[in-house]
């Protein structure tokens, strides 16, 4: 790509805009920074960015509403910024189509990692989806329903496999409890977080080196889970 990726930042804090603009430009991104939801929607339509960074508390339109309106016409990745303790809001935004979130205050490495994942998913979904996912010692073959750890096959139940397959095919993205439950079980079980807790526990015992300090399946407090790759 000869053109640097364009990032649209929507946040009403001038100092955050200033810092993000400086840092992201330094990291070879092009940056559009706006401070209202209305401007954000207008910019997104006029000059479609590669990634949108959206603060949930905006002076004019609620961030959730901006998210919903964007999702009416575009799949551009959206990374939510929000404050600590607003898990319900984060989950609501993710369920409305946001791709990821960051809790303020955040480290810039985290933000860059999220942006990288978002960009990768844009390019990936354009190409053919991969059928074999490799991550550290793990190899997951989605078509043959096989999972290997250090070349050794791991026996998983059908539900466990559906769970790891769903997490792994959305590698590095946060998935909400509801999204996982709906996908792996069904929409009726969307509130049964207990299923998820138990099955994630079983999976960790089978695939993690130390289930107490998981490397692959990371808990996102109050929000969901993330399958982390170490690239």
């Amino acid at each position: 790509m000869n053109k640097d990726p364009l990032i649209l930042v929507i946040d009403d804090e001038p100092q955050i805009l200033r810092a993000l603009r400086t840092i992201l430009t330094e990291k070879h991104f092009r940056v559009n920074a706006v401070s209202t939801g209305k401007d954000g929607l207008a910019y997104a339509a006029a000059q479609p960015p590669d990634v949108i960074i959206l603060d949930l508390s905006l002076p004019d339109i609620n961030g959730l509403e901006v998210c919903r309106q964007l999702r009416e016409w575009t799949r551009i990745p959206i990374i939510i910024l929000s404050v600590h303790d607003s898990e319900r809001e984060k989950v609501a935004a993710l369920d409305r189509g946001a791709d990821d979130y960051l809790t303020k205050p955040f480290g810039i490495e985290e933000l860059l990692a999220r942006i990288r994942v978002a960009l990768r998913h844009t390019t990936q979904s354009a190409a053919d989806p991969t059928n074999i996912i490799k991550n550290g010692l793990l190899t997951i073959d989605l078509t043959r329903h096989i999972i290997l750890r250090d070349e050794q096959e791991i026996k998983l139940t059908a539900t466990e496999f559906r769970l790891i397959a769903y997490l792994a095919s959305n590698a590095d993205r946060v998935l909400t409890h509801q999204a996982i439950l709906t996908h792996v079980w069904d929409a009726y079980d969307a509130d049964r977080v207990e299923y998820l807790r138990v099955f994630i526990g079983q999976l960790r015992k089978k695939i993690e080196n130390d289930p107490k300090q998981p490397e692959y399946i990371i808990t996102e407090s109050g929000v969901g889970y993330r399958f982390v790759t170490n690239d």
């Binding site: 303790d85 319900r88 205050p105 139940t157 207990e194 138990v198 994630i200 109050g222």
Partner: protein, 490 residues
């Protein structure tokens, strides 16, 4: 009890009764005329005067005296059957009789009225005394209203009484009614007494009863009731106002403590950050040196610390406002704890942490994020007080099938027994504030969260250290978690 009215015969009947006694006596004396001397008859004629005065009052007595005088003259003094007197001594007898009868009736009447008055005064005083002493202990408007209503219906035959109490600061106006259901009785008269103190109108006594006007005694009693009632109501209002003032003062005091503690707490990391950044900025520190990395690490740590402090403040204000509603879901305790220990790895690096959580521990209905907060605060508190290189152990067990007990045990100093329950209060500190940093909010946040989960939190001294304990219910709305069956479709 209502003797004010019940003892009063209509006046006409009183007088007729007086006449009747004279008539009866005359009939009897006519029969006995032959055996009785005139002197005895005169004396006997004083009887109806005494009886009438005593029983029915002054004027019936006087009437009895006058008719007795006429009857005596007519029937017993010659010439008989004529109101005339021939003999001088008979005339004297008659005159003396008349004077004696009148004087006697006057004296008895006065004594009787005096006695009656004294009795009713005593009754009135007793009622007032009973009323005032019944009111004296009352602290609450509703019971005051009930007492007034009960005493009103005790002294007066009423159809209904209503005690209206005007609205006071936070309390809305109230009406207490006896009998409770509103009754409508024909011919019932409505009378009301304002309950007023020199400062304000506190309410009203409204009553419906059969008489249009009250007797002076009733009038006096009701005036006393309403003025004493007003004073009692005013007293509760003032007591409430004083309580509120005290609370406000306390919360004001608390805010002052909070502000001073918080500004101190916020400023120290800011000072560190400012110093580090300005030295980096000024070029005083070599860009490639270890010092630079050290300063940057300090800045990051202090920023995290600031974030933690602000988080605690927000949590506290949420707890205070009653806005802390846990989103309770089935969670695995060990998963929460593993996450917390990972996040706190820097904080706990100088202590040894052990976890003793049984593998078969049931799922616990908790708010994941809030439980993280509880563990973070308890562990960071343990780290703060326990000496370096000591053991902090986290133990969980299920004593019965409904409760989970978690203990965070450290080898730190003991807490004086009398302070054990107070350490969960806001800003409570055992050691001098300068020695240990913190806002003094961490443990009270734990308490707020655990109690919002319907659990309990407490602390205890152990032989070799100190332990924070909490319990959590293992059921969510009375039920246990539902577990899916593993489908064997493979």
């Amino acid at each position: 009890m209502q003797f004010i009215r019940s003892n009063i015969l209509p006046p006409l009947l009183n007088h007729l009764a007086a006449l009747f006694t004279v008539f009866i006596l005359t009939v009897i004396l006519r029969e006995l005329q032959i055996v009785l001397s005139i002197q005895i008859i005169v004396l006997l004629y004083l009887l109806p005067v005494i009886i009438s005065t005593t029983l029915w009052g002054l004027t019936p007595g006087a009437l009895a005296g006058f008719t007795a005088f006429l009857a005596f003259n007519y029937f017993f003094i010659p010439p008989y059957f004529k109101l005339a007197v021939h003999k001088t001594e008979d005339l004297i007898t008659l005159v003396i009789f008349f004077i004696v009868a009148i004087v006697l009736s006057q004296m008895i009447g006065q004594a009787r009225d005096g006695l009656k008055l004294a009795k009713s005064r005593e009754w009135e005083a007793t009622r007032m005394y009973e009323f005032i002493s019944a009111l004296s202990g009352l602290q609450e408007n509703n019971s005051i209203a009930r007492t007034i209503a009960e005493h009103v219906s005790e002294v007066l035959q009423i159809d209904q009484v209503e005690i209206y109490i005007d609205k006071q600061n936070s309390d809305s106006a109230s009406i207490l009614r006896i009998p409770e259901k509103k009754v409508y009785i024909n011919g019932s008269h409505y009378i009301r007494f304002p309950m007023m103190t020199v400062r304000a109108l506190e309410g009203e006594i409204r009553l419906w009863h059969g008489h249009e006007v009250l007797t002076p005694i009733e009038q006096r009693l009701f005036e006393t009731f309403s003025s004493q009632g007003a004073l009692a109501i005013e007293r509760t209002r003032l007591a409430k106002a004083e309580n509120r003032a005290k609370l406000l003062e306390e919360s004001d005091q608390m805010k002052t403590t909070l502000l001073s503690s918080v500004s101190h707490e916020l400023r120290s990391p800011l000072a560190t950050i400012k110093a580090s950044i300005s030295s980096l900025h000024s070029g005083a520190v070599n860009w490639d040196s270890n010092a630079r990395n050290e300063l940057l690490a300090v800045i990051e740590e202090e920023t995290d610390h600031l974030n933690y402090l602000v988080g605690n403040l927000l949590d506290m204000s949420r707890i205070e406002a009653g806005a802390l509603k846990p989103k309770r879901e089935w969670n695995i305790l060990a998963e929460i704890l593993d996450g917390v220990l990972k996040k706190m790895s820097k904080t706990i690096e100088k202590h040894h942490i052990t976890m003793d959580i049984p593998n078969n521990l049931p799922l616990v209905p908790t708010d994941y994020v809030q439980m993280e907060q509880v563990f973070t605060n308890l562990i960071s508190n343990s780290v703060k007080y326990a000496p370096e290189n000591t053991l902090i152990s986290i133990v969980a067990h299920v004593p019965d099938h409904t409760t989970l007990i978690v203990k965070v045990i450290n080898q730190g100093p003991k807490v004086p027994e009398e302070s054990l329950s107070r350490i969960f209060e806001k800003f409570f500190r055992i050691t001098a504030a300068e020695r240990i940093t913190g806002t003094g909010l961490g443990l009270s946040i734990c308490k707020g969260i655990i109690e919002a989960h319907r659990g309990k939190i407490w602390a205890e001294n152990l032989a070799n250290g100190f332990s924070f304990n909490f319990s959590l219910p293992l059921t969510l709305d009375g039920v246990l978690p539902h577990m899916p069956k593993e489908n064997n479709d493979e």
